[in-house]
Structure formats: structure tokens, C-alpha cells
Amino acid sequence: MSGTLRLAWRYLTWHRTRSLILVLCILLTLLLPFAVTMLVDVYGARFRARATATPYVVGAPGSRYDLVLSALYFKGQVRTPSTMAEVERAGRDGLAVVVPLHVGSRAEGHPLVGTSHDYVRLRGLRTAAGRFAQMPGECVLGAKAAADLDKGVGAKVLTDTESVYDFGLAYPIRMRVVGVLAETGTADDRAIFTDLDTVWIMLGFGHGHEAPDQIDADSTSGVKDGTHQLNPKTHLYTEITPENVDSFHMHAEPENLPVTAMIVNPRDGKARTFLKGRYAVSKTGQLIEPVEVVDELLEFVFQLKAFFDANVVLVTAATMLFLALVVLLSVRVRRAEIETLFKIGCARLTVFRMLAFELAIVVLLGAVLAAGLAWFGTQVLLSDFLP
């Protein structure tokens, strides 16, 4: 360690409280900018990676943002759902692989995604345990969902009731967990996947044929005194089992059954052009390139961040002025010490270097701690953020 650096370090460690306060000033000034920058960078990269891995999204006319956020990240809700007729239209002439999605419902707090096996192929999903769903009433848990719920293969998962007092709606579905997905680092980890039939039954588009008045005292409800009443002792859910699955059917035309979006993967460049042309004039659907929408969203985020950065510059400048004031006061307080150094043969430049080292150590320590804390905080936040 050079003599000047040693003197600077000794001064800082001797005046611990003063040094700590200065380091904290730097830390608090830089923590938020570092954290925001890291978060925006990582969020942006992950957001974009998911979008880039999704060729096209088709959905009903409406908000492009809602459609993409729902189809890719299982966030929010699509106000106007599309239908299976649109799925047929998108895939007509074999132009593309069309993966229908129904997103917006939840099961035990996690996004419930109704889809087909093509989704598994498109995303390259694989199971860490069990298998993929093969019949209505079965579901597969994303890795984080399984960990959060502490459930695995053989467990049961109940879909969330959107209106528990609206008995006109169908009951929640109690699904059997038949598999757990390997971790992907995407929104798939937090989701629970089932087939579309299960979602449609949950939404009331289909049901099993068990007459309520045949339900005994241990069942969910029945007819008593001529009115349909719930049995308060029973669980309010429907379970689709291999034994009763054949009794379930839809009470809607197949083409009218709802999907919130579909992921469309064109067969080739020519098919892509045809699809774009088809949806350029469509009144029933819109074809969206997710990466364009995500870039628009990120641009908005970066514009906001620019204002934030400008504020950071001002706050940092204020902190630096404060530090300069502390150094100036310090020089006054340390006049005798500095005079002694001059007298014994120290150059003014050496004294300046010593003070600069002190400042540099404080700034460096504050910055390193801020970066470390920002990194740690970012990791914690990112563990809950899976685009």
C-alpha cells in the first residue's frame, strides 16, 4: 500500500462514524439508480426474449398490449375473447401451427392456462416429474407454481372461483396434478396448464350430466322442497375423473367456444406473407408481432427512465457538492495536520492526493455497496418476475 493511500485509509478508519455516514450518503444516492438500471436491463432482456420466441399472436380486435401481455406473460385480461372459429381461420390451408390459449382464470392464485399440446412443442417444455395432461381434469404445474403450492404429481388443485356467490355459474374444477414442468425462467414457471375443455367446463360452457336431485346428502347440491339448494356440508367444486369424463359435454357450438389468444407459427416465409395479408383485412381478428409491441412498451419504459436518470444526475450532483463541502471543511479542521505534513517535507500535491484517495475510497465503497445491494435486490425481485 502506498504511503498516501495508507494515510487516507487510516484517517477513514479512525473517523469511522464520519466515514460511514459519507459511505451511506453515496450508497443511498446510487442504490436506486443502480437497482432501476439493473432491473430495467434484465426485465427488458427477459421481456424481449419471450417476445422474440413467439412468432405471432392472433386475437380479437382490441388492445394489442392486453393481447400480448396476456398471451405471452399471462398478465391481465383480454376484454374481448376470440373464438375457436378464429383458431380454425388462422390455421386454414395449413399455413401455420396455431396454438389456442385461454388465459385469465386462476387456480389457487396462479395463472391457469388452457391450451393444447402444441404449446408444449412451441415452448420446448418438458416435465421434471410426471407427464403432460391427456384428458380434461388433469393439469401440469409450472416449476415455481409447484414450489409455491408445495404440490406435485398426484395432488389436487382447485380453480379459483371468480364469483363464489353466483350459483348460476359452474363450480370450480378440482384438477389432478399429473406433471410438474422443468424450470424455464419464464412465465410458464408460475402457470398451471390444463386443456381447453377443462377451462371451458370451469367457465360454464360445459358440464357433466349428473341430475342435481339425484345427488345424495354428501353431494354438493340438490333439489329440496322444489328448489335447487346447496348442501352446506359439501365442497363446492366439480371433479372430472376417468369415470365421469364421458358425461361431460359442451353446451355451446364448438366454433363459439372462447379463447383469449392464439400463438401462430407460420409454416414458412410465404405462409407468413399470406397470414399477414389475411389479417390485414380481417374484421374478426388481428395478427400481432409480439416483439414490436414489447419494443413499444420498453420504449415507453426507457422514456420514463430517461426522466428518472435526469433526476439521478441532479441528486448525484447535490451529493457530490455535499461531499465537496465536507472535504473543504475537513481541510479547515485538519489545517494543523496538513501544516505538519508540509513542514516535514510533504508536497501540496501529495496532500491533495491523500484527500482525493479518501474521497475515492468513500465513493468507491458506497458505489460497490450500492451495486451489491442493488444486485441482491434485483435478484430477489427477479425471482418473482418471470416473463
Binding site: 504511503g3 498516501t4 495508507r6 494515510l7 487510516r10 484517517y11 478508519t13 479512525w14 473517523h15 494543523a336 495536520e337 501544516e339 505538519t340 505534513l341 508540509f342 513542514k343 516535514i344 517535507g345 510533504c346 508536497a347 501529495t350
Partner: protein, 228 residues
């Protein structure tokens, strides 16, 4: 025959317009111990600062050893004077001027931290150990100055002045802040150290009871200080 270490001729030095020190001639032989006396404000400390190359005189010639600090028409550059001061001159101050945030050991080695003209070698550490032993502060090397008595602090200051093995020791009332007994002991140590290191001592003092111990006493008023 001893050689001359300090030559001062026709010196004029002052601060602003209120004071001017005038020393027509002052010569100090190598190995000599010289006491500078005179009333407060007569310029004793100024003279020490000029000899150390700290204070730039307005006129006159000052040479220490083989370096002409201030000539009649030129003067040694500041960097050269600093290098010379830190390597050839030891300074002892009345207020000790130790740095609280450094240990006693680091305070003694301070000259080696602030100027690259000095190289911190194992030989320096050995010399430090010997000096600390002689001055009775070997047990305190890891402590900080505020844990020491006034007398102990001045011993540390003397050790700092001696650690570079200087040819010339300039002491500005080193016992001024000490009680008589402690002052006498410190002075014994200082004289012993000067003899042992074959150094030259120029010391400012107000204590006329100490003057017998010096080879020579220079009364600055008699030499010729002028009030402007």
C-alpha cells in the same frame, strides 16, 4: 576540524509589513548544539523555518550542508528543498504535531509515507526499533498518540525527527508544553540522541536554565532583529 553545516548571511525574512527578521550572519558547525534565545516574536521560529527551507526569505543567503537553499539571486526549487528537508533535517515542534489517526509506529514513519525521496526499507524498521528502545517508547508503538502522556508524545515526535537519520535537528521549544521534570528528561533524551547520531542541533528555547547544556547560545536580539 569540523565542517560548517549551516551558513546564514545577510538574512532578511518577514511576514507582511509588520515584522522583519534580520540576521547578518549565523554559522553552525556540524555536531554543534546551538540554543536560539530571544523574546517572543523576535523571529526564532521564523529563523528555524528559513533554515528548514519552509519560509522563503526576502533577502540573504542560506546554505545547509551542500544545498544552497536561498542564494543572493536564486533559490533551490520547492521540490528540492522538500526532498532535502525530509531526508536531511529532523523537525521537533512544541505541540508535537502527531497525527491521532496513526499509530505511534506510523507517526514515526510518517516522513516515509509522504515523500518518495525516502525509501522504507528493513533498515529503517531496525533504526525505528533502536530509536524507540532508546527513547523508551518501544512498548507503545501500536498505540495511538492520544493514549500517551505529553512526555511520551514528545518522545514520539523526537523519534519521528530522528528516524530519517538527519544531519540537522531543528527543535522549536520541544519542552515548552512539558512540566520541568518531564522537560528535563526529554532534553536528556534529545541530547543523547543528537550525540549518538552525530547530528547537529539548533533549538529554540525560552528556558535559560538549559543553556549550559548547549555548545553555543545565540541571542537573536543581539544578532540583530529589526522591527519594521
Amino acid at each position: 576540524m569540523s565542517e560548517r553545516l549551516v551558513d546564514v548571511d545577510g538574512l532578511r525574512a518577514g511576514y507582511g509589513e509588520g515584522f522583519e527578521l534580520h540576521v547578518p550572519a549565523l554559522h553552525v558547525e556540524a555536531g554543534e548544539t546551538v540554543a536560539l534565545i530571544g523574546p517572543s516574536g523576535c523571529g526564532k521560529t521564523t529563523l528555524l523555518n528559513v533554515i528548514a527551507g519552509i519560509h522563503v526569505p526576502t533577502a540573504g543567503h542560506v546554505r545547509v550542508g551542500d544545498l544552497e537553499l536561498f542564494g543572493s539571486t536564486s533559490r533551490a526549487p520547492d521540490a528540492a528543498r522538500r526532498r532535502f528537508r525530509i531526508s536531511r533535517i529532523g523537525l521537533v515542534f512544541q505541540a508535537f504535531e502527531l497525527l491521532d489517526h496513526l499509530s505511534v509506529r506510523e507517526n514515526i514513519l510518517l516522513p516515509f509515507f509522504v515523500n518518495t525521496a525516502l525509501e522504507h526499507t528493513p533498515a529503517v524498521d531496525a533504526r525505528l526499533a533502536t530509536i524507540a528502545e532508546r527513547l523508551g517508547i518501544a512498548a507503545y508503538l501500536a498505540r495511538h498518540p492520544q493514549a500517551l502522556s505529553q512526555g511520551e508524545r514528545q518522545r514520539v515526535a523526537i523519534a519521528r525527527a530522528l528516524v530519517t537519520d538527519p544531519a540537522l535537528l531543528l527543535a522549536d521549544e520541544p519542552t515548552g508544553n512539558l512540566d520541568p521534570d518531564t522537560g528535563a528528561r526529554i532534553l536528556d533524551l534529545l541530547f543523547d540522541a543528537v550525540r549518538e547520531h552525530e547530528a547537529t542541533l539548533v533549538m529554540v528555547t525560552h528556558d535559560h536554565g538549559l543553556l549550559d547544556r548547549f555548545d553555543r547560545v545565540v541571542d537573536l536580539m543581539a544578532v540583530g532583529t529589526e522591527a519594521a
